[in-house]
C-alpha cells in the first residue's frame, strides 16, 4: 500500500450517498481541506483550529489507523450533541496513507 502514489477512501454524506475520493499522496492538506475542495458543504468556520466543529466526521472504518486525537480535539468533540465513539475533526487529520480504505461519514 505504501508505494502507491494515491490515497483513496470513501466519503458518506449525511444523506447516505457514498463517493470514493482518490487523491495524490504528495499534497500537504488536512482531510477538512480535501473535503472542502471536493465541494462538500463544510463551513470550516475556524479554518482548521479545532474550534468550530463544523468539520465533524465519524470514521466508520479505519479509525485504528489514524493518529490519536489531541486533547483540544477531544475537548471540542465532547461538547457536540451527535458525537460518536469514532468521532473526529477532519481538520486535525492529515491526508496520508493512513486514510487508505477508510469510510468517513460527514456529521458537521
Amino acid at each position: 500500500m505504501a508505494d502507491k502514489d494515491t490515497i483513496s477512501f470513501d466519503v458518506q454524506s449525511s444523506t447516505g450517498d457514498v463517493q470514493r475520493l482518490e487523491l495524490p499522496d504528495n499534497i500537504n492538506l488536512s482531510l477538512m481541506e480535501v473535503l472542502k475542495a471536493s465541494e462538500y458543504p463544510i463551513p470550516a468556520t475556524c479554518g482548521g483550529m479545532a474550534l468550530c466543529a463544523t468539520c465533524h466526521v465519524e470514521i466508520l472504518k479505519g479509525v485504528e489507523n489514524l493518529s490519536t486525537p489531541s486533547d483540544t480535539e477531544l475537548d471540542m468533540i465532547d461538547t457536540l450533541p451527535n458525537a460518536a465513539a469514532n468521532s473526529r475533526l477532519a481538520c486535525q487529520i492529515r491526508l496520508d496513507h493512513r486514510l487508505d480504505d477508510a469510510v468517513i461519514l460527514l456529521k458537521g
Binding site: 463551513p43 468556520t45 475556524c46 483550529m49 474550534l51 468550530c52 466543529a53 463544523t54 486533547d71 477531544l74 475537548d75 465532547d78 461538547t79 457536540l80 450533541p81 451527535n82 458525537a83
Partner: protein
C-alpha cells in the same frame, strides 16, 4: 415599543461594532441587534483568547481585547443594543424606511439597514431526538436568559461542556431539581466546575447521569417527561418542566436568506463602491458579503464599514452633503 434609529445594524461582531464609529463620525445613530447574549461575534464566541496578528497597528491583540477596545472606541456615539435576539423579518415602509423584527418581538425602525451578520446568526447545536422541535418554547430551551424562570421547577440539562456545567452549578440553588445528562463517563476541561458538579451529585443536590443519552420526549403541548438511556442501557423516564440542551453554538445564515437580497453561496452580493446590496438602503459588510476578490478578514470589514457610511449618509440626511474630515483635524464629537 418601537426602537427608533438612523441605522439598524444586524450583527454586533467586530465589523458591526466598527460601523457605529464610522456612522458616528457622520452624525448617524446606530442600534445593533445580535442573537448572541454578548457583543463580538466570532471573536467572543469562538476564539476569545486567541491572538490576532493582522490588525493594523497591533502586532498582536487578543480577540476579546479587540472587542473590548472596539466597545470603548464607539462609546462616544452611544450605540444601543438588543442582545440575545435574532432578527427574523425585514419589512419596508412606504417612505422607504425599514422595520426589523426579532424573534422576541422587538421592533427597530430605521432609515438604513446594515447587515453585518458574519457567517450567520449563532444558533444552538441541537441533539438528535425526535419531537425536539415540537417542544421548543414549550419547555425545551437552549439558552438561560433569566435563571429566575427556573425557580422551583424540575429541570434537565444535557451536555458536557463548560456552559452545561456552569448552569448546572448555578441552577442547583434555584431549581427544585436539576438532572445533568452527559454522554461520556467524565467531563473534559474546566476541572473546578467538573469537581463542583460531582460534589453536588454526591451531596444529593443534583441528579448526575453519566454515559447517558436523551432518547425520547413526552408531553402534550408542553414537555412533561424525558426518557433517558443510562449507563446500564436502561430507559429512565424522568418528569420535568424544562429540558435545556447546551451543546454550544454554530452560525446559520437563517432568515437573511428570505430578504430578497442577491445571494451567492450564503453570502450577500454587494457593489464594491459602497457595499450596497441590490435593495436600496440596505448595505452588507464583513464576512456576510461577497464580491470579486473578497477576503473574510476583520480589516477588510473595517474598510467596508467606512465606505458604507459615506453612502448611508444620503439616506439619513438626504439634503446634506457628507464632508470628509480626518479625526486628527476634527476630533471625535460625541453625541
Amino acid at each position: 415599543m418601537i426602537i427608533q434609529t438612523d441605522i439598524a445594524i444586524v450583527g454586533a461582531g467586530p465589523v458591526g461594532l466598527f460601523a457605529v464609529f464610522e456612522a458616528g463620525l457622520l452624525k448617524m445613530r446606530c442600534h445593533l441587534i445580535d442573537a448572541l447574549p454578548q457583543i463580538g461575534g466570532q471573536l467572543s464566541e469562538i476564539y476569545p483568547k486567541k491572538p490576532i496578528y493582522d490588525i493594523p497597528g497591533f502586532p498582536e491583540v487578543q480577540a476579546q481585547t479587540l472587542v473590548d477596545n472596539l466597545r470603548k472606541q464607539i462609546e462616544p456615539f452611544k450605540p444601543t443594543f438588543t442582545l440575545g435576539e435574532r432578527v427574523d423579518s425585514l419589512t419596508r415602509n412606504d417612505d422607504g424606511s425599514f422595520i426589523l423584527t426579532t424573534t422576541d418581538g422587538t421592533a427597530v425602525h430605521s432609515k438604513v439597514v446594515v447587515i453585518a451578520a458574519g457567517l450567520g446568526s449563532f444558533e444552538p447545536r441541537k441533539p438528535e431526538v425526535a419531537d425536539l422541535g415540537r417542544f421548543e418554547g414549550r419547555g425545551v430551551t437552549y439558552m438561560v436568559k433569566d435563571p429566575e424562570l427556573f425557580r422551583d421547577k424540575n429541570i434537565i440539562i444535557a451536555g458536557g461542556g463548560d456552559s452545561a456545567l456552569d448552569w448546572t452549578i448555578h441552577l442547583a440553588n434555584i431549581a427544585k431539581s436539576v438532572t445533568l445528562v452527559h454522554r461520556n463517563e467524565s467531563f473534559r476541561g474546566a476541572p473546578d466546575s467538573a469537581e463542583k458538579v460531582s460534589t453536588l451529585a454526591k451531596n444529593g443536590k443534583i441528579n448526575l447521569l453519566l454515559s447517558a443519552n436523551l432518547k425520547a420526549l413526552h408531553g402534550n403541548g408542553v414537555i412533561k417527561a424525558v426518557e433517558i438511556e443510562d449507563k446500564q442501557k436502561q430507559l429512565l423516564k424522568i418528569d420535568t418542566d424544562y429540558l435545556i440542551p447546551l451543546f454550544g453554538l454554530t452560525p446559520k445564515l437563517g432568515p437573511i436568506a428570505d430578504w430578497r437580497l442577491n445571494l451567492d453561496k450564503n453570502a450577500i452580493e454587494v457593489n464594491t463602491f459602497d457595499y450596497a446590496t441590490n435593495v436600496s438602503g440596505i448595505f452588507a459588510i464583513g464576512d456576510i458579503n461577497t464580491y470579486p476578490g473578497k477576503l473574510k478578514l476583520i480589516l477588510c470589514g473595517f474598510h467596508e464599514a467606512a465606505l458604507m457610511a459615506q453612502s448611508a449618509f444620503h439616506f439619513v440626511y438626504p439634503d446634506q452633503k457628507a464632508s470628509f474630515k480626518y479625526t486628527t483635524v476634527n476630533g471625535v464629537n460625541a453625541f
